[in-house]
Symmetry: none
DNA sequence: AATGAATGAGCATTCATTCAT
DNA sequence: TATGAATGAATGCTCATTCAT
């Protein structure tokens, strides 16, 4: 494929590529030094472009973080819905969600750091993100649980909202610990560990 | 000779009082605007002292956050240990931990905000805090679980480390959701909701 | 071969047209936001061309202002000389000058704003402009006054240089006030008001 | 006089002195390079203080210019009113105004440059300043002229507003020319030159 | 000639920290 | 101990200008 802009399609790709490059660079920089400690100049240098160029693709430093989150969340939810559509049974669906959650973040440490750490650094961010993607994500889990109760697979004396938060919280903690851990271990297998407790409970029967 | 330096005892009291005042002011300010958006001058004004005075009690803005965390965590763990000492049985101990966790944070929204949000705003902070108090806290939970397994109360096919993280993550998520929620509800009762799942599992028996 | 370069004649016309368009756009933009607050991009957009195209016709933003001034002043002086050539008598000549001054600026508010405001925004500009057109303009007034003194129409105890400045200053102030005024009134008639005073003081009794 | 801050009075003086120093430095810098080309750092260096200190006394670069103008105009009008109070007769009053106008600006070239050049560099500034000091100044001249008409000293067929603008415009032009002139000559004497013409045209015959 | 994406120097302002009093 | 004026390094963003196409 030539580097020329012979077609509109290609030109578009190039623009998208640069936006993408900036986003990728930003994640790397944010993950390394934290959002507030990262300079726009750092991102530009990491992306191999001039400082000003960043502002041709993003309105502000803030917008970079938002864009990153929006896109990542959108991708994640789209992928999740697609995979869930092919699965029967609430239990198996939850398993898929948990696995996907940890697979995705476990596959990209920098992305995970930004998700787990940077996006939580301010109530403002959290509020906005919570209202956006996080909320939708929790909803999917909640509905799957409610479905499972209707299907008679899950206990009916539990509130789906609470149960959803429990599962999400547990998974989230796995990711955070994985990021902070000095040791290097695969994150994805933790899904089954969580589910073993989640599905079966802790008490001896 | 000034009143405050007449005796060591008195001086200490005064110092502690002012240190305390600054710390309290800092939590309020951090909770309201976030660590990075809070100015040392804001804290000073909130505490009713001059800007420079802050530096007689703390080496830097950063140290204020650290001190706050250290003290809060220390208090919390001390209180926890004390209460656990009076309890027999791993299950009841875990229940107490969960309740204490949510009671404490639920009783002081500003403190909770700083804990849930501000302390997570940078990998640097998280790493440091994880190595300090969080680690010890998780350890206590882990050991209680291990004890429960020995006592034959808990399933033995589960790794205590993982189970501890699951419980902690679930509780943590309850707090975060409570903070971000527009609605006002008591946090403490969520402990039992979490434990119902944690102890019993989700599946229909 | 492009249309515009087929013949020199045509090309020139096109070039002149676009140069003109840029100049016109610049006046509009400068008048609205001030020279320093106007972006080259604003001018380009107003002119309906790309940013870079501006630089095919002008070496810099600064040069646009200069070009504008040079051309406007040139036009104005040429027109003035032409009209003066048809008039006998120093008094009538001065009247014509004053009228032309206010008619011209009164007919184009944007041009007037740039003349009265933007061109005075820096000593550098003023120095340059003074050395160029302003100087020539004042000279014409001065000479007309000197002629009037020789003709015995004007008092001979006044220095033409000073008298010229007085007339110019008075007219200039009329324009400035007209621009800043919230009320909308015709500028040209002010010429006679000024002359009523001016001649009263200058004429030989 | 000691450099200490033993008394409140002295302390006040010091503060006022620094504000004054910044203002003085700003005038010098603005006069030399123009408002838009002057950096706040230039002003700070000229005043012998740190950049940030400027902001302890002024909210913004813009505010420095405003403060300067407000104070200068206030001073000037106060002085003018004081002197006018001691004078009988509209004609002599106008003479005093004209003289004061040129004496003041003629005594401080830098201040004059800022007044004549920088304050006119934008419609925004001019509008604001016109509404403030300039307006009051013109009013004083206008009223003096109206008084003169009532007293039978000045022709009654002239509109005071217009006549006031003429005088102001003529004086203003003297100042501008003086600033731009390469030659160095005293400004104050020009007042009488202007008045010779002005009164010739305005006085009742 | 025309485009408009890319450049990068430039700058007002903020704020943690210091220090003379 | 306490003050708060002073410091000056640090940085997000703008915009005149260039240049590959």
């Amino acid at each position: 494929m030539s580097r020329s802009t012979r077609t509109n399609g290609e030109a578009r790709v190039f623009v998208a590529d640069k936006r993408e490059a900036i986003l990728r660079a930003a994640i790397k920089v944010f993950a390394g030094k934290g959002y507030f400690n990262s300079k726009v100049a750092d991102i530009a240098k990491e992306a191999g472009i001039a400082d000003g160029t960043v502002y041709l693709y993003f309105k502000s430093k803030d917008e970079i973080l938002h864009s990153f989150f929006d896109r990542a969340m959108e991708d994640f939810i789209a992928e999740g819905k697609k995979q869930l559509a092919e699965i029967e049974g609430a239990q198996e669906k939850l398993r898929r969600i948990a696995q996907l959650h940890l697979e995705r973040l476990g596959a990209d440490r920098e992305l995970a750091i930004v998700f787990q750490v940077e996006l939580r650094g301010s109530t403002k961010f959290m509020q906005e993100f919570s209202a956006a993607g996080f909320g939708e994500y929790l909803d999917i889990i909640r509905e799957t649980i409610a479905d499972g109760q209707k299907q008679g697979v899950f206990r009916k004396d539990l509130k789906p909202v609470v149960v959803a938060k429990i599962l999400y919280g547990a998974l989230d903690e796995m990711v955070t610990n994985w990021i902070l851990s000095q040791k290097s271990y695969p994150l994805a297998p933790m899904a089954d560990e969580v589910l073993k407790v989640f599905f079966g409970g802790v008490l001896q029967k």
